[in-house]
């Protein structure tokens, strides 16, 4: 009797341990349902070799320029370049940072994907383990979650702080805390591609989207520290003839 009870106990313990191991594995390996995981890791060149450099009509062209509502247009009318926070070294956020003409590094871990941008030394973490953001997770880069599907990485980012130039660096379009950015990353040959979509009901009448690519960085390339300097960032501001007194 005693030995049978002890045997049942061992089986029960083994079962409990198995459950714990399985649960722990599911946290570390968030994608265990057989989804094809693309190899996105590496150093990527987003400069002029890969795509046209950003400007007032790149990547937002006549074809995909966001449809602004009256609130966004009102902001644009009072906006002038020198109030953009980048002149105080505030980093660009999505959807601008993905198109900045600098290099980027992607690192894939089982429970997260790390995007490190050379511009402004920014690091975005895309959580793959199903966690959800809390109110304290509001930030310049927002909070990103993702999953692999059909050979691509799908990312959804929310919890952005309000940003007077949160849409891009050139058109004076703001973004609100309701901004949602979705990205789909995939490989074509050696190139990394992304389709990015922005929704922001406070300023956009409909979602806006662009598609672009990175090419492999030059051999031996190592990301440098950007270390934005406050004096350098604001040095040209005094050359701007403001319309405000």
């Amino acid at each position: 009797m005693k030995s049978q009870g002890f045997g049942k106990g061992k089986v029960l313990c083994a079962a409990v341990l198995s459950l714990l191991v399985w649960h722990d594995s599911s946290q570390v390996n968030a994608q265990t349902d057989g989804a094809a995981i693309p190899d996105l890791s590496g150093l990527w060149d987003g400069g002029g070799r890969a795509r046209p450099v950003n400007g007032v009509d790149v990547p937002w062209t006549a074809e995909n320029f966001p449809v602004l509502n009256e609130r966004a247009i009102a902001y644009q009318q009072v906006f002038e370049e020198i109030i953009a926070p980048k002149y105080d070294c505030q980093p660009a956020s999505s959807p601008a940072v993905q198109y900045d003409p600098y290099n980027m590094q992607v690192t894939q871990w089982p429970d997260r994907v790390l995007f490190r941008y050379e511009k402004d030394d920014q690091l975005r973490t895309v959580w793959l383990d199903g966690r959800e953001p809390k109110s304290i997770d509001f930030s310049n880069q927002g909070f990103s979650v993702g999953r692999y599907e059909d050979g691509a990485l799908l990312v959804t980012t929310t919890h952005f702080l309000f940003d007077i130039t949160g849409f891009d660096d050139y058109n004076g379009i703001p973004s609100s805390s309701q901004k949602v950015v979705t990205e789909r990353y995939w490989m074509e040959g050696e190139d990394l591609h992304v389709t990015l979509t922005v929704e922001d009901p406070m300023f956009l009448r409909e979602p806006a989207s662009y598609t672009t690519r990175w090419i492999p960085a030059r051999e031996g390339y190592v990301l440098s520290a950007f270390d934005c300097d406050a004096e350098s960032a604001r040095a040209s501001v005094r050359f701007f003839p403001s319309k405000y007194k």
């Binding site: 370049e81 003409p101 960032a233």
Partner: protein, 141 residues
């Protein structure tokens, strides 16, 4: 050192859209709000200070005005994170070096700034030894 200020709408129109830059300029901000692409200015001056920091390197030079007094000009260059990959260092433009610069003048009245420049040593040779001085199409800023 002499200052030659060439502000010619005709010349500017002829060169408009053709960027005059010997070093890569990468996007941080649009230059249009700060500098006038329809005008050109040419100076020759002595390096006073070279700030080699992101997001833009800046060069400060002393230029003699018509009365012989020194006026400080501020020249906006590209991002050091990219310039350094073409050989530029914080020591590339040492104090006392004489440079010739042509570019777009700053907009604010009375200001002395230039961007989008073509820059050489006083004798017309490249700033960087072994480098080239060329006019190239400048990507949007």
């Amino acid at each position: 050192m002499s200052t030659k200020r060439l502000i010619s709408a005709a010349l500017a129109a002829a060169t408009a859209g053709v960027a005059l830059l010997m070093t890569p300029v990468l996007a941080h901000h649009a230059s249009g709000p700060f500098y006038d692409p329809d005008k050109r200015v040419e100076i020759e001056g002595t390096v006073k200070r070279f700030v080699f920091k992101n997001p833009h390197a800046f060069l400060f030079v002393d230029v003699a005005d018509a009365a012989g007094a020194n006026v400080e000009w501020q020249i906006e260059l590209g991002a050091p994170v990219s310039l350094q990959r073409t050989g530029w260092t914080p020591e590339t433009l040492p104090m006392g070096m004489v440079v010739k610069v042509t570019g777009q003048p700053s907009r604010a009245e009375g200001s002395t700034g230039i961007c989008c420049v073509r820059m050489t040593r006083q004798d017309g040779s490249p700033v960087l030894s072994g480098g080239r001085v060329e006019e190239a199409v400048q990507p949007p800023r």
